[in-house]
Amino acid sequence: MSTNTDLVAQKDQGKNISKQLPVIAPEVDVFENDQEILLQADMPGVLKEDIVINIDNGKMVLSGIRRLESVGADTWKEFGEVEFRRNFSVPQSIDTNQVNAEFKDGQLCLHLPKSEAAKPRQIEIKAG
């Protein structure tokens, strides 16, 4: 099975992947206006350094690993350590060089500005 080969391949890669974390998709809100597309994702407990955003060929991969420090034995677990990962399609109208992101209180705000050519404009008609 494909999952098995994945596991083997990752073991060979090195020690930075200590154990397989459950992967969950972060909940997102997506807004759009004339200037940009705004994506907000909830990734509580993830450190800023552990968030990776890759845009390549119209596909965006958003991922973040949550590591938690717990004391003693777990008595109750509703969330735990996870990897947040989700794929998005990025429209061509987005200027990928201008994409920027902020992370605050476990909430990622990703601004995807539209390229100049894609912004709506009104064309004035000159009187001939």
């Binding site: 907000q40 800023k48 717990s70 003693g72 008595t75 969330f79 209180d105 476990g106």
Partner: protein
Amino acid sequence: MELKKLAPWNWFKKEEEHAHAVPVQHAEKPQGVPGGHTPPMLQLHRDIDNLFGQFFAGWGMPRLGNWEGLSTDALLKPKVDLSGADNQYQLTVEIPGVEEKDISVDVRQNTMTIRGEKRQEKEEKEKNHYRIERSYGAFQRILSLPEDVDQDSIKAAFKNGVLTITMPRKALPASEVKQVAITSE
């Protein structure tokens, strides 16, 4: 052997009682069918779910079907993790996108209540939205604290959308042991 000692402490005893309490009926919110009566089959479903929920609660199992979630005025229940060591308990709550000042934690009569509200930012109002997956509104979790929590030294920290509450454990006064003398005759 006392069976009660084997079962782990139920941190959610109060919360379950709260959930099972008879909800206050609002005049403008009819439940189920007009007239305020719950259909008998739905009532039966609820009863069975509650029965199973209560049965499994002591074994650290998640609750089964949650009918309260269906009502519109239900409070959000952020996820919690609990862990315990010899000297302290640690509780972590997942509250992304909320500011520190919007969270309140209080302890009253061995019950800890964590509540607050997640607000949607105003500036987005004029924008078109594609999808809204995140939930907004008031949230609350209620926890019953075990006897050995030192309630005066509970500490809470909020970082990256996760609230961490540490509860130091104190030594309980040992119950008196009486030696019974056995006389041989």
